[in-house]
Symmetry: C3
Subunit: 210 residues, 3 copies
């Protein structure tokens, strides 16, 4: 376990979070454009997708200031991207946009799951709670995006390997931390396991038994 | 009003909460199986139903650590039950499972309403706020379960006596506490009133005027 | 920026909040009656609409006690209005009730947006975060109302000028505060801009480009 000052993120975790914000915001942009939303809708969906999971995690851990409050450059970035990027997204083909969402969403899932598990561990949470926090952080932004866009959230689709990938990745993080691996390796392995597991499951149509 | 240390539950309240978690988790299991969800779906629905109301209550009261964070044995218990119990639930008949949900849900409603009102009172909240906290704690897990499973939440079904039962039970708790009844009696009477009121209303088809 | 004691509202902000609670509760009453809900449903929808935005704001800012917990007279007022007013609302004509909702909702939007931005500024949040807090506070109650009543939330309707009005009003507040205008003028101008912008947009059918 890292010794972190209680109310700040290590630089490493910050990098993971920024990448997660970008990945999830991107998946929100594309989903909102597919639903023909206007610019305000695109920004709202991207904002909620990018910050939903981390905000719920911070509320549950009682961690303040919230990370998008501490760093107003994150929401500003999402806002600028929504204003500047909206017209370009219009020309995305439907088939390509669906594939892009799957990839961006898998990246966001992996990055936020690892960051959630790591932060919970740094807050001294018990093991199983760290895993649950990782899973909640990873899936919640996407759940909100799908609810707003009137899609069945991936996590509730029958047989879909989604929360399971996050669950596996979080256990990898905790196991490597317990083996005293350096933080960068634990985070990297956890992210890789979640993302690869998810993408392979989508590619080969792996399903959970009913 | 009991003198409780501010950040821990009395043993009595803990017993009430464990029973409420089990009752609501059970209602979540059955509802998820009725919707033919897979094992991950069953766990997710049971987890959210069992811990949703208490988590919202703790967020509103700013009570930390959250009770499922303090006691990781609760989410582990729900997880083990979801993994072990899922195959058995498959063979439940539809009519029986509907009746089981009503009973489990009524028990969860009574147990969580009383615990919410009691905890709010111990946090020094004013009377009407204690009642609202009890009602919110009692109904929120079931609302999330029904939203996820694409049912109209019981509390929003026209004429259904649901929130009303919780409301009555919470007033009973506060009135008995004001009469200086011992905590065990106040909790017991409150739970009994909510559960019996709810079950009798379902049995005899009592409805609210339109 | 006003020097406020950190956990209390200035009298001015309190007035703004009470008016916002009344406006949003009223929009909730009418919407619930349009959906033929019973008395419990009417109270629940009014309560959630009136207190949803402010509660989310307080959770995000970690501001306790929540304002409806500090002032139990607010939820009691909504409760009494629901019990006493329900029978009267039954006779509202459909066309008139739709117009009333638009006006009550615009007022609530303006009042809560300004109060959210002002409170966030008093908590020392950075500028863009103050605007986001204002928008979140302004729109969240109405989003919950529409979700419960099975309407598409106004903020997610294509082309609808809704969040945009709140966004504009919040910038007016921050700009006037930065110009060292007295609080009463900043709040007044912000509320006026949001409400008038919204009502004019509805009246003349202004739309955002797609």
């Amino acid at each position: 376990m890292n010794a972190l000052p209680p109310f700040s993120l290590s630089t490493l975790l910050q990098v993971v979070e920024v990448l997660g914000v970008v990945a999830f915001a991107f998946s929100g942009f594309i989903e909102a454009r597919r639903k023909h939303m206007d610019m305000v809708g695109v920004f709202t969906v991207a904002f909620i997708t990018a910050f939903g999971g981390g905000t719920l995690r911070d509320l549950l851990l009682d961690r303040r200031p919230l990370y998008w409050v501490e760093h107003q450059e994150y929401p500003i970035m999402v806002f600028v991207l929504a204003v500047v990027g909206s017209p370009f997204l219009r020309h995305l083909q439907s088939a390509r946009s669906e594939r892009l969402i799957v990839v961006a969403d898998a990246l966001g899932l992996g990055l936020f799951s690892a960051s959630g598990a790591s932060l919970a561990l740094n807050f001294g949470m018990p093991t199983f709670v760290c895993v649950m926090m990782g899973v909640i952080t990873g899936i919640f932004g996407g759940v909100l995006r799908d609810v707003i866009c009137n899609e069945i959230p991936l996590v509730f689709r029958r047989g879909e390997l989604y929360a399971t990938c996050s669950f596996a990745g979080c256990w990898v993080y905790l196991w490597m931390d317990w083996m005293k691996a350096p933080e960068v390796m634990s985070l990297g392995a956890s992210i890789a396991v979640t993302v690869v597991f998810r993408l392979v499951a989508v590619r080969f149509g792996w399903r959970l038994p009913g």
